[in-house]
């Protein structure tokens, strides 16, 4: 007896391109096509790109970063470009997600430094880049503009658009042909609304990645898990306003009680396990990009995804 794991779905998760190689007009060593799923994650039988990607989150001002990572990465945290390079060569990340935490300083105004940071990170790594701009509406426009410009041709992924502030980031994405992250608080309908708003101002479907907001494991993750599943089903059922790939980042993982209060000698391990269990569950629910902050989580996730992606030949099951 054969069995069908497609459950009669008709829709397809849209594809989006991250990064551009020299042949594609950029300077990246690799570029990725993500999305394209036609059934539940990992159950597609002949899809080359259905493995989730793992992004390492880094920043340009470590003052705002977890002490666990500052300790683990040492001096690297003081130079975003070397950190990014190490993420590629030693930690094995698929993507870099750069948070411009320097812009969080009070009255930040040195916009040109942001451009320099983006350029130096791009020059030291061949991986596609995700950039998280400012946290401050006042400077959003200039910051995103600068990021967009500095990464022109590289098919960046810019973050993060929310219902209350999406115009500056959308403008930068449109002007320089980058994609963007659209975040809504753990709710399918809000995710859809935001995508419609973005569509109305001209951002194409194949330039949007949904961030459903990921609560840390034990601190709201169960809601995020179900939101991811539901977004995926809506896509498979044919709702084109939700048929985008999903990015997941349980940012608070390193601040939660279990990690914060772990024995110092075991803190890295606790952080890694917390990120790892969250990452596996999010990927199985439907996330195409899993972001982590601890370098040691990367390899673990990648080998797990490889094993989960190893499928039986369904036609051979008799």
């Amino acid at each position: 007896m054969g069995y069908d794991l497609k459950f009669g779905w008709t829709g397809t998760v849209g594809r989006i391109t991250l990064g551009a190689t020299v042949a594609e007009g950029g300077t990246r060593k690799t570029s990725y096509q993500i999305g394209g799923g036609t059934t539940l994650p990992f159950l597609d039988n002949n899809l080359s790109s259905s493995m989730p990607l793992v992004a390492l989150e880094i920043c340009d001002n470590p003052e705002y970063w977890s002490p666990i990572i500052r300790r683990f990465c040492g001096d690297l945290v003081n130079s975003a470009d070397d950190w990014a390079k190490t993420a590629e060569t030693a930690y094995g990340a698929d993507l870099i997600r750069l948070y411009l935490t320097s812009t969080r300083q009070r009255n930040f105004s040195d916009i040109s430094s942001v451009g320099k940071t983006v350029e130096s990170v791009l020059s030291k790594t061949g991986l596609p880049l995700i950039i998280e701009g400012s946290n401050e509406p006042r400077i959003d426009s200039e910051i995103f503009q600068k990021c967009g410009e500095s990464g022109e041709g590289e098919k960046l992924l810019l973050g993060t658009a929310e219902a209350s502030r999406y115009r500056s980031i959308a403008a930068a994405a449109l002007a320089y042909n980058h994609s963007l992250i659209a975040q809504s608080p753990i709710d399918v309908n809000l995710a859809k609304q935001l995508n419609i708003l973005l569509k109305e101002i001209g951002v194409q479907r194949d330039h949007i990645i949904i961030d459903p907001y990921t609560g840390a494991l034990g601190y709201g993750f169960e809601y995020s898990y179900s939101a991811i599943e539901r977004i995926r089903f809506s896509a498979l059922k044919g709702d084109s306003d939700l048929a985008m790939p999903i990015i997941c980042s349980a940012i608070d993982s390193l601040n939660i009680k279990e990690v914060r209060e772990a024995d110092q000698a075991r803190q890295d391990e606790m952080a890694v396990q917390w990120e790892f269990y969250t990452g596996i569950a999010a990927a199985v629910a439907g996330a195409e990009i899993i972001c982590v902050r601890h370098p040691k989580t990367i390899g673990m996730l990648k080998s797990a995804f490889a094993s989960i992606n190893k499928k039986i030949d369904l036609t051979g099951v008799k």
């Binding site: 007896m1 069995y3 794991l5 459950f7 539940l40 990992f42 159950l43 608080p185 494991l217 034990g218 601190y219 709201g220 993750f221 169960e222 809601y223 898990y225 179900s226 599943e229 539901r230 089903f233 009680k257 279990e258 914060r260 772990a262 075991r266 391990e269 606790m270 890694v272 396990q273 917390w274 790892f276 269990y277 969250t278 596996i280 569950a281 199985v284 629910a285 673990m300 080998s303 797990a304 094993s307 989960i308 992606n309 190893k310 499928k311 039986i312 369904l314 099951v317 008799k318």
Partner: protein, 447 residues
Amino acid sequence: MALKALDIYKLLPKKNCKECGDPTCLTFAMKLASGKADIDLCPYLDESAKSVLGATTRPPIRLIKLGVGERSFSVGEEFVLYRHDKTFYHPPGILFKVFDTQSSEEITQVTKRVRDEVFTRVGTDLRFNGIAIENSSGTVEAFARAVATVEENADLPLVLISKDLEAFNAALIQVGSYRPLIHSATKENFREMCALAKKHSCPLVVKANGLDNLIGLVKSCGEEGVKKMVMDLCPQSLGDYLSLSTAVRQLAITRAVPDLGYPVFFDATHPNLQDAAIALGIVKYASVIITPPLSEESAKAAHTLRQNIYTDPQKPIQMNPGLYRVGIPGKDAPVLMTVNFSLTFFTLEGYLESSKIPCFLLIVDTEGLSVLTAVAAGKLNETLVRDSLKKFEVEREVSHKKLIIPGYASPLSGRIEEATGWKVLVGPRDAAEIGEYLHEEWNKLKK
């Protein structure tokens, strides 16, 4: 396809003898109609009624109990593929695996750990569920000795794993009455294994490669008279497991293949991928997971993921609203307000206890929403705070009218003051800072 309670009732013996565990045939019929009971519980059904009711009334996945006594647990009786469609009911048991080639000290240590270790989260005690003992030595004596070692140290649900009937016999003489799960019946040995399972009324793992073989074997074991089964899908990789368990769940809950309506067994012993296997098993339909003992870190993450996935998506874990005490607060003790989301309460309570300042905690009914969420949703507002202060008679407990509210509720501070006539103090956002805040601010105010 589903029958209504009354249609079912018509087919029942109407003896109202209670032997099914229900007070009347009608209440039993109602349970059957909602898929919450198995017709086999009524001993007086005739064959024709059985065949009509048969597959349409029993839960699409049978409920199987492992072990006896306090630590026993039940799995199965699930109805949905996605938790947001309803909820997942029975969290998987996670059992630590020992080998009969290990020393009795090692086996004892693992057994005691499962017996004693508790991880308390959100007011709930989380534990591992039992011990799986594998006959890796291949000898009868070593297996019997290992089982005896576990048994001497704890009354825990067990899984016995062997290929040798003699070894099972020797083990079951000792622990047969504790209903261990025995692993496993295969197409070669199923008659003997079924006889063994029936003799000791143990649940039986049925193991076959490929769904058709599995369905065939489940049928055969059923014909041998075994009702309590758990299925080992023999996955070769984690991807294999995911495909098979998803297919099995789907075919079972839609009743397309009623013979697959049993819980799934999953051995998470995969070199370097053990945590991945456990996480996958938890989210994707495993009911009995066995694994070598986990590190403290993996253990906590696994417990938490299991707790998260198996909470009801419609109902956050909640506290009863009311006035709670931390320590023995006096008339001049601070009053802190918070929401009735359990996670919020227990997080806050933990920090308050370590601050060593006795206080009152006013829990208001935000329908289980956290502070920020409740503020965003408008569920936390001045009227609620005013009514709660009144309802729980806070004024009778303290000699002051000062209320400390969560930092995240600061936008409401003015309105709460107006509505209640209490002075509102805005506390820190992060509960971790509450001790310091109370020591400085509250003590300053008292002077």
